[in-house]
C-alpha cells in the first residue's frame, strides 16, 4: 500500500482579523479561511483545485507547502508534516506561483537554473541531463541566456516550471500557472504538465480559474467554497451531479419584450434574440412547442451548459445541494 502523496484530515486555518470600529480600538474576529477540509491525493494523480476568489484555495496551497501552519487537523505531504519539516519537504516538491516568479530577476535564465541546482543540491550530471530534457520540452533554448526580467510572461512561466522541476520532485503544486498567458503559451504549459504527469508520474495539484486547464488536464476536481470542500470527484461526474441548466436561444421575427413561456422569462434580450434558461426538470420540447405556438420564431438553438456554466452555477450558489453545504461524494 503506497503512502498517499497528500493526506488532509479536518484541516482548519483560522486568521485573526482586526477591524477598526471607530477610534483607536480594534475588534478581533476569527475568520476560518479553511474550515475542516479532508482529502487524499494518491501518487500519479492530476487534481484541479477550484473555487471562487477568497474561497481558501491559496491558503490550502500554503499549508500544503509548509508556508503556513494549520490551526487544526492533520496534514501529510510526501509522508511529512509540511509545517514541521518544511525544508525537507521543499526538496521533494516543486512549487510554482503564477503571480510571482521564483527566478532571479537580473540573472540569465541559465544562471537562475544553475543556482536552483545549488540550492537543491542536485548532482551536476543529473542536473545536466534534466536541464537538457526540460529545455527541449519547454523550448527554453532561445531565451536561456536572456535575463529573467526581459522574458515575456509565457517564457518566464516556462522558466519557472523548469526551475520547479529541476530537482525531480514527486509532487508539483501550481497556483494559477496559466494566469495571464496567451493561447499558445497556455497550450505549451498544458501539454508540458500533461507529459510530466504521464511520463514521469509526477503528482500534480493545480489551482486555476481557466476552464481550459481543467478540461484538458484534470481527471479529478476538488471545489472549495467558503473554506469547505463542496465537491471532490471526476469532471464528468461533476457535470452530471450539477443540475446543469440548458440555454435556449430563440430568434424571433421581430424585437419585442422578454417572452414568458411556462413561467420561464427570457433572461437576456438582444434585438430579436432572446435567451431562456431551462432547469433540468423542464421539458425543452414542450417549451419550444409553446414558443412556436405563441410567437413567430425564425430560428432556435438549445445549448448544454458547459463546464464554465456548471462552475458559475456552483460559485453563485444556485443549486440546492450547494446551498445545503453538504459535500458531494465522488
Amino acid at each position: 500500500m503506497p503512502v498517499p502523496m497528500i493526506e488532509a484530515a479536518d484541516v482548519v486555518k483560522s486568521f485573526t482579523v482586526r477591524t477598526r470600529s471607530g477610534g483607536p480600538r480594534r475588534t478581533r474576529t476569527s475568520v476560518r479561511a479553511v474550515d475542516g477540509v479532508s482529502f487524499t491525493v494518491e501518487p500519479g494523480e492530476f487534481v484541479g483545485y477550484l473555487g471562487p476568489n477568497g474561497a481558501g484555495k491559496s491558503t490550502t496551497i500554503k499549508m500544503l507547502t509548509g508556508i503556513l501552519t494549520a490551526s487544526a487537523g492533520t496534514l501529510r505531504v510526501c509522508g511529512l508534516d509540511p509545517s514541521r519539516r518544511r525544508t525537507s519537504l521543499a526538496r521533494r516538491i516543486g512549487v510554482v506561483f503564477g503571480q510571482r516568479t521564483t527566478l532571479w530577476w537580473d540573472l540569465p535564465l541559465r544562471d537562475s537554473l544553475a543556482l536552483v541546482r545549488r540550492l537543491y543540491r542536485v548532482e551536476a550530471a543529473a542536473h545536466r541531463a534534466r536541464l537538457a530534457e526540460l529545455t527541449a520540452l519547454l523550448e527554453l533554448e532561445p531565451f536561456l541566456d536572456t535575463p529573467v526580467r526581459q522574458l515575456s510572461l509565457g517564457q518566464r512561466m516556462r522558466g519557472d516550471l523548469a526551475a520547479a522541476l529541476l530537482h525531480d520532485p514527486e509532487l508539483l503544486v501550481l497556483d494559477e500557472p496559466t494566469i495571464g498567458l496567451d493561447v499558445v503559451s497556455k497550450a505549451t504549459v498544458r501539454d508540458f504538465l500533461a507529459r510530466v504527469n504521464a511520463e514521469r508520474g509526477t503528482t500534480v495539484l493545480l489551482t486555476t480559474h481557466d476552464l481550459g486547464d481543467i478540461e484538458r488536464l484534470c481527471r479529478r476536481v476538488m471545489i472549495i467554497d467558503r473554506g469547505r470542500l463542496a465537491y471532490d470527484g471526476g469532471l464528468d461526474a461533476l457535470r452530471r451531479t450539477v443540475d446543469a441548466d440548458r440555454l435556449l436561444v430563440v430568434e424571433l421575427a421581430r424585437p419585442g419584450p422578454p417572452v414568458i413561456v411556462d413561467g420561464i422569462e427570457a433572461e437576456r434580450v438582444e434585438g430579436p434574440r432572446q435567451w431562456l434558461r431551462l432547469p433540468r426538470a423542464v421539458n425543452a420540447a414542450a417549451v419550444i412547442a409553446a414558443l412556436a405556438r405563441d410567437h413567430e420564431v425564425r430560428d432556435i438553438a438549445l445549448r448544454e451548459a458547459g463546464i464554465d456554466e456548471v462552475l458559475a452555477g456552483l460559485y453563485r450558489g444556485d443549486h440546492a445541494y450547494w446551498r445545503s453545504g453538504r459535500p458531494v461524494a465522488p
Binding site: 486568521f15 485573526t16 537580473d106 543556482l115
Partner: protein, 261 residues
Amino acid sequence: MYGVLAWAWIRAAAQYPVSMVLLALATALVTGLDVAAILLLFAHAPRIAGFTAPEVLFLYGTSALAFGISDIVLGTTERLGYHVRQGTLDTMLVRPVSPLVQIATEEFSPRRFGKLVPAVLVLAYALTRVDVAWTAGRAAMVPVMVAAGTAIFGGLWVLTGAVQFVLVDSHGASKSVTYGGGFLTQYPMTMFARDFVRGVTFVVPLAFVNWQPALYVLDRPDPLGLPEAARFASPAVAALVCGAGALAWRAGLRHYRSTGS
C-alpha cells in the same frame, strides 16, 4: 549556501555595469569624506573627554569595522517587512534554504565592502599611533573585540528583522481583508516603530562592542566602575545577543506561518 547566493547577486549586479561603477564611485566618495571629516575633527581637538585622538580613533575604527562587517553579512535583513508585505517571503519559504540566508544575501554587491575602507584606514592609523604598552593579551584583544562586536551587531540585525514579523502583522491582518488596498498609508508607522526599536536595541549592548574591551587595551579605568570582568565579557555578550536574535527570528517565523500574510 550564503556564498552561492551572494555570488549570484554579484553577477546580477554586474548586469548593470554602468550602475555598478557609478555606485562604487559614490560609495568611495562618501567614505572618503567620512575619513576626511574625522581627521578634520581631530586636527582641531587633540583630546576629547580625556582620550587622545588616536585612542578615540581606535574606538571609532573597531566599532565601524564591526558594524561594517555585520552590515555586509546581514544588513538586508531589515527588508523583511517588505518581503512579508509583497508576499515574496512565500517564495523563499518553498526553497530548501533558510529565508534568513536568502534575505541576507539579497542584492549582495562587492560595493558593500566599500563601507569597510574608512574603518580599516582609521583603525590602522590608530593602532600605529596609539600609546599602548602592547602585551600578547592586549594585541589578541583587538581581533577578539572586532569579532565579538561583529557578532553583537549581527545578532541585532537579525533581532530587528524578526521584530518586523510582528510589526507587520497588525497590517497583515487588515491586508487579509482588503488585500492590501489601504496598505501603504500605514507604512510610516512601521518605519517609526522600526527605527525606535533599532535605536533601543543597538544602544543597550553597544558598550560591549568596543568600549569595555578598549578600556582593557588602552589600560584605562572604567568611569562607571564596572568590575574588571566586564572588560572580557564581549564574547559572552555576543553569544547572548546572537542567541536572542536566533530565538526571535524563529519565533517571528513561527508567528508568520501561523498568522499568514
